[in-house]
């Protein structure tokens, strides 16, 4: 389990503040959704947690250590962008990942791919968009890092692929030990999978709650809560 603490965290791009003075202690495990309108700062937050970008001021701590170059061992990052090499086969991608990441579990990767009916001899460049997304997720999840940061894993996918991706996460994530952060616009679909939610709006976290408590209190769907707090 990992303690992720954000302290007075601010990130500016030029003069524009993407995130402003965040003071948050993330849950130690389980699935946390990070939702909010486009441009609200969700992806920036994930990248800061993984140590891929640096805060303008304030800090991100993973188990008491500043997030930075070495955070890769604790936090895996699934990019919204293309992160696969076209010329590789699926098998090649898996062995490449095994070479790059010391914590990579090749056997688990193969199990995940089999569950998603991907064949190891297929070439990345011949895969459909949905299958590329499945492969990316399998490669990320096969590392079993204490923290998983998934940036828009559902975006642009058809309903079947979205269902498949969410199913893969709940089947293989260790919800008692691993923390999975997911950003998404598919709020309605994501809601039943969440333990916790952060709603980001204009660089601030306006809701930081357990999803079940939120529901018991408001008797509303997450999307309605989102609508209310982002007007």
């Amino acid at each position: 389990m990992t303690e992720v603490n954000l302290h007075k965290l601010t990130k500016k791009y030029g003069r524009k503040e993407a995130l402003s003075q965040l003071e948050i202690q993330l849950p130690k495990a389980g699935i946390t959704g990070i939702i909010g309108p486009n441009g609200s700062g969700k992806s920036t937050l994930l990248k800061l947690i993984c140590g891929l970008i640096r805060p303008s001021s304030g800090s991100v701590e993973l188990n008491g250590e500043q997030a930075g170059r070495k955070s890769g061992a604790v936090a895996a990052y699934l990019s919204e962008e293309d992160s696969l090499y076209d010329y590789m086969t699926i098998k090649g991608t898996v062995s490449f990942a095994a070479g790059v990441y010391p914590d990579f579990d090749q056997e688990l990767a193969m199990t995940l791919l089999k569950e998603m009916k991907l064949h190891e001899s297929e070439k990345v460049k011949e895969l459909s968009r949905g299958n590329k997304a499945r492969l990316k997720l399998a490669v990320t999840m096969a590392r079993k890092t204490p923290v998983l940061c998934l940036d828009e894993p559902l975006s642009g996918m058809d309903p079947l692929v979205r269902e498949d991706i969410l199913r893969l996460i709940v089947t293989h994530l260790d919800v008692d030990r691993q923390l999975c952060l997911i950003t998404s616009h598919e709020v309605k679909e994501l809601e039943p999978f969440l333990d916790h939610v952060l709603i980001v709006h204009e660089g601030r976290v306006v809701v930081d709650r357990n999803v079940e408590d939120l529901k018991e209190e408001n008797r509303k769907s997450l999307i309605d809560v989102l609508r209310e707090v982002t007007v």
């Binding site: 389980g30 699935i31 269902e163 969410l166 199913r167 709940v170 089947t171 994530l173 919800v175 039943p192 999978f193 969440l194 333990d195 079940e212 529901k215 018991e216 008797r219 509303k220 769907s221 309605d224």
Partner: protein, 125 residues
């Protein structure tokens, strides 16, 4: 297949109702093993912690029993299942009464409608 959930009830309660109904109907028989937490989470499309909570609450009501290292099982106590069936039916009856009241329909008319529905569509009287 992912389940559909309403917005006004916590999901664990909706899952509890769903499982209770299946037990009442006999889809899940006394002593039968329930799916593992992960499997049900994947099937229903929910968080595994929600399934754990569902099983825990069902166990508190003695509807299921968890055996260490083996999983969760439907109770073998027939009276518990009978009681569950009665209480589930009572909930549905309340809902029906409420809906009729919302439509401004009185008791006799409502009972008449029920009688009619039963005769019309058939059913295990």
């Amino acid at each position: 297949m992912a389940m559909e959930f309403n917005d006004y009830q916590p999901i664990y309660q909706q899952l509890m109702d769903h499982i209770s109904q299946r037990i009442c109907r006999g889809d899940l028989t006394p002593g039968e093993k329930l799916p593992s937490v992960r499997l049900l989470a994947a099937e229903a499309g929910v968080n595994p912690n929600t399934v754990s909570r569902t099983y825990m609450e069902l166990e508190r009501e003695n509807i299921v029993e968890s055996k260490r290292g083996q999983g969760t099982f439907v109770t073998t106590e027939q009276p518990v299942i009978e009681e569950l069936r009665r209480s589930q039916a009572a909930v549905q009856a309340d809902r029906f009464k409420y809906s009729m009241e919302q439509l401004g329909i009185d008791k006799d008319t409502a009972i008449g409608l029920l009688q009619h529905a039963w005769d019309e569509k058939g059913g295990s009287s």
